[in-house]
Subunit: 124 residues, 2 copies
């Protein structure tokens, strides 16, 4: 399905690439000047995920957070990376660090979803 450029998409993507953090739908909505419907934001976010522009993280609060692979002024983040949720500033950050583990080789790993919780470098 062909994509079209809309103010909504641009606004959503702009917020995420600027902060470089993983944000929830309502946090994104608050950061955008224009009014965008909740359902629309979710659809835009999910479409970006399908297209490999964004990725989705589910935190221990059960909510979905979305983050760009490209933060402005930084290198692109790897597909398999860690996430850090700070309990102080309540942001979720993508870390340039791989997750390592050793499990029996009978297991076939397709995806890694790893969220660390604690105090981030700005708040410690």
């Amino acid at each position: 399905m062909k994509r079209r450029n809309t103010p909504t998409k641009e606004a959503v993507l702009e917020v995420l690439t600027t902060t470089g953090k993983a944000m929830s739908q309502d946090a994104i909505e608050q950061e955008i000047d224009i009014n965008i419907n909740r359902a629309t934001i979710y659809r835009v976010l999910n479409r970006f995920c399908d297209d490999g522009v964004l990725h989705k993280i589910v935190a221990e609060d059960g909510k979905q957070y979305f983050a760009s692979y490209n933060k402005v002024g930084e290198q692109e983040i790897a597909k398999n990376h860690l996430h850090f949720k700070c309990l102080i500033c309540e942001t979720i950050e993508c870390l340039h660090a791989e997750v390592n583990f050793s499990i029996p080789k009978a297991y076939i790993v397709q995806d890694v979803n790893c969220v660390l919780t604690g105090t981030c470098k700005n708040c410690s």
Copy 2:
């Protein structure tokens, strides 16, 4: 607050220690013969978590899964361990494997929530 023994608690704990898997509230409810209210199951599960008997995992579906630290006939599982969600049999398993990562020391890690997705040893 003192705890009391009830049929509900026993039934819930029995299911989880027998399977050794992480289960959601509705999965637990289905496995129990007697009828137990949804809210009650959640309260029992959360109380067990508070008491360190169970632990809670949030999977990428945003749902909570609960697992015992002690599976019958197996060694106790460590606090910081991996979880594996099989896409075939749709179970969540606690793995006897630690998560390793290296991040800047400014970060203070309090908790690790790591769920691998793929095909488990029984389904591969």
